[in-house]
């Protein structure tokens, strides 16, 4: 891949030196650390098994602050959008794009290099935060994360990276499609707001409309209603990541969605091992990966077909 490493390094240096990345990075780090620090104090933590205390730091909320997981699902898309929304169109506006495409490099290298450099930036940030949280757990709780906990944290990290990759490639897609950086930023933010907040309302409304429920609705109708609602919610990568994290970070969660008491009969309330947890959320992980691939593929094709004049 001619030029890929060169572009990757330039873009990474740009991101790491960029002020807006520094600002959003500082916000993410502060929010995450305060969430975890207050989770350490929370009484809910004591109810968790000792084996998964480190992981529960990531999902437990303490005091008035939301959990670390909430901040990740909330802020990682912003980071992705910020890294990607002007990847191509800013270069076009500044006039540097035609400089790049007239060099003897494949056009793929340009978009791949930019994508990988942004992803590396996200992974540096997220990896750093997870390591910090490990440190906090050791210092404040005196717990060293066990091997499986580290493995689960890594799976969570991978899922969060897929999630970031989705938003990043979506932002890059918009930066290819729209000539103005403000348009691509607004389009990406609008989609983010919809998928993060409004999809709950929409899913609820649609489900209420299709399967109306009242006080004396039979159980199977209720289940149908709930399945439809959750199905719609799963269109949002944020919801997928939440489900994945819930299962991966909490070994005792074994079923997602509506639960009939009959399904719990004979269940031994023990922790699942990692393989079984993965089985529960394998579909979600696959969809998350597929969404990222789809978005990146679309931006790749759009960029390849685009004629670049000056």
């Amino acid at each position: 891949m001619t030029g890929l490493t060169t572009i990757f390094r330039k873009e990474l240096a740009d991101h790491l030196g960029s002020r807006r990345i520094a600002v959003i990075g500082a916000i993410i780090i502060l929010a995450s650390l305060s969430a975890v620090l207050s989770a350490v104090e929370s009484p809910g933590l004591a109810q968790h098994e000792r084996e998964s205390l480190f992981l529960s730091l990531l999902t437990e909320r303490g005091g008035n602050l939301p959990s670390f997981l909430f901040f990740v699902t909330f802020l990682v898309p912003l980071l992705g959008i910020l890294l990607g929304f002007d990847a191509i169109n800013a270069e076009r506006q500044r006039g540097t794009l035609s400089l790049l495409v007239s060099q003897p490099i494949y056009r793929d290298s340009l978009i791949n290099g930019k994508f990988l450099a942004s992803l590396a930036t996200v992974s540096l940030m997220l990896g750093g935060i997870l390591a910090l949280i490990g440190g906090i757990s050791m210092a404040r709780l005196g717990i060293v994360p066990s091997g499986t906990e580290v493995l689960r944290a890594l799976v969570f990290f991978g899922a969060a990276m897929l999630y970031a990759a989705f938003w990043l490639s979506l932002a890059i897609l918009f930066s290819v499609l729209f000539d103005r950086t403000s348009t691509s930023a607004l389009a990406a933010l609008a989609l983010w707001i919809f998928l993060a907040f409004f999809i709950q309302l929409v899913a609820g409304m649609v489900a209420d409309h299709v399967v109306p429920v009242g006080r004396d609705t039979p159980a199977d109708e209720l289940i149908r209603h709930e399945n439809l609602r959750i199905g719609l919610m799963r269109l949002s990568p944020a919801y997928l990541l939440q489900e994945v994290s819930l299962v991966v970070l909490n070994p005792s969660v074994r079923i997602l969605g509506p639960l009939e008491t009959s399904r719990l009969q004979g269940v031994i309330p023990s922790a699942l091992d990692l393989g079984q947890s993965l089985m529960v959320i394998w579909p979600q992980l696959t969809v998350l990966a597929a969404l990222s691939v789809l978005c990146f593929g679309a931006s790749y094709i759009a960029f390849m077909r685009r004629e670049i004049r000056s």
């Binding site: 060169t6 330039k10 500044r94 400089l99 007239s102 060099q103 003897p104």
Partner: protein
């Protein structure tokens, strides 16, 4: 010797609009060729096809013996292209910008440093090498663009509107650089422009494009004759010796007519096309041409005349 650029019946259509219509273009190695025409005549589209950045709808292209649609990278490795209004990364210095481009061209370490230094010296920007590109004037940025093109030691250089939007002094510098490139390094230069004056100064041959087709091609003299027709000049002849002018002998010279005696001298009009032969024959008659008032074809005149006719 193979031609630097050769196109046959080259056509590019965008939907129903034909941007370039059956273009036959031949550029010899080592010459400076000017592609002229008003905005929208198809100059940039032609250039993009030469570099493989746009696929021709039909027809063939050969650049340095290669097919740019298939060997775009090889063509770009040997061809320097400077797009119209090209810009550099404003926060990087001139040297850093060039170092990045050198790396994209596969130059590494010492070789890259040397190439950057040489290119900066050639365009006389060595003393501003470490200022950010954002602080440069338009003319300096264009010179930096020429430096970026020279980095790869190209065989062919394609410049799209290299002098637009630059003050006269800057234009002068750029033109002399282009001329030097061709003369000292034997680089073939193709430049497009709607600024006739600059093209006339540096080009060996020009091609005029109008509404997607090449309407005239050749040296400025050739085009001038074919478009403006023959034109005359006036010549004042004095006797070469002590005696009076031998009017009879002069009268036999082909292309010299309308004799008028003015004092000791004689004035006649002559055919501009045969200027040198006529002057030689006058001298052979023992007379001296003391004042020759010819009219060179100017590109402006050709241009205006042509577009008035069309």
């Amino acid at each position: 010797m193979e031609k630097a650029v050769e196109t046959r019946e080259l056509t590019r259509r965008y939907g129903v609009f034909t941007a370039v219509d059956r273009l036959d273009l031949d550029i010899r190695r080592g010459e400076v060729f000017g592609l002229l025409g008003p905005n929208g005549a198809g100059k940039t589209t032609t250039i993009l096809m030469l570099l493989g950045m746009t696929e021709p709808s039909s027809g063939t292209v050969r650049v340095l013996g290669l097919d740019p649609a298939r060997d775009s990278l090889k063509v770009k490795a040997r061809t320097g292209y400077l797009a119209e209004n090209v810009e550099f990364y404003e926060d990087l210095t001139a040297r850093e910008n060039l170092a990045y481009l050198a790396e994209l061209n596969g130059l590494k370490g010492g070789a890259a440093d040397r190439a950057v230094r040489e290119a900066l010296e050639t365009v006389e920007m060595a003393e501003r090498a470490d200022s950010p590109a954002g602080t440069f004037s338009k003319g300096m940025r264009q010179r930096l663009g020429l430096a970026s093109v020279l980095l790869k030691k190209p065989e062919l250089v394609i410049l799209d509107e290299p002098t637009s939007g630059i003050d006269p002094e800057g234009v002068e510098k750029i033109l002399s650089l282009i001329r030097r490139m061709a003369e000292e390094s034997g680089i073939t230069v193709l430049l497009s422009s709607h600024m006739l004056h600059s093209v006339q100064k540096v080009c060996d041959r020009v091609g005029i494009m109008f509404k997607s087709s090449m309407i005239a091609c050749g040296t400025i003299g050739e085009i001038g004759r074919s478009i403006l027709g023959e034109r005359g000049g006036t010549i004042r002849i004095a006797s070469g010796g002590p005696g009076p002018i031998d009017g009879e002998k002069l009268g036999k010279i082909k292309g010299l007519k309308d004799f008028r005696r003015t004092g000791d001298t004689m004035t006649a009009s002559f055919d501009e096309q045969d200027r040198s032969r006529i002057i030689r024959e006058i001298i052979e008659c023992g007379c001296l041409p003391v004042e020759i008032r010819g009219t060179d074809y100017s590109l402006e005149e050709i241009y205006l005349r042509y577009f008035r006719e069309v």
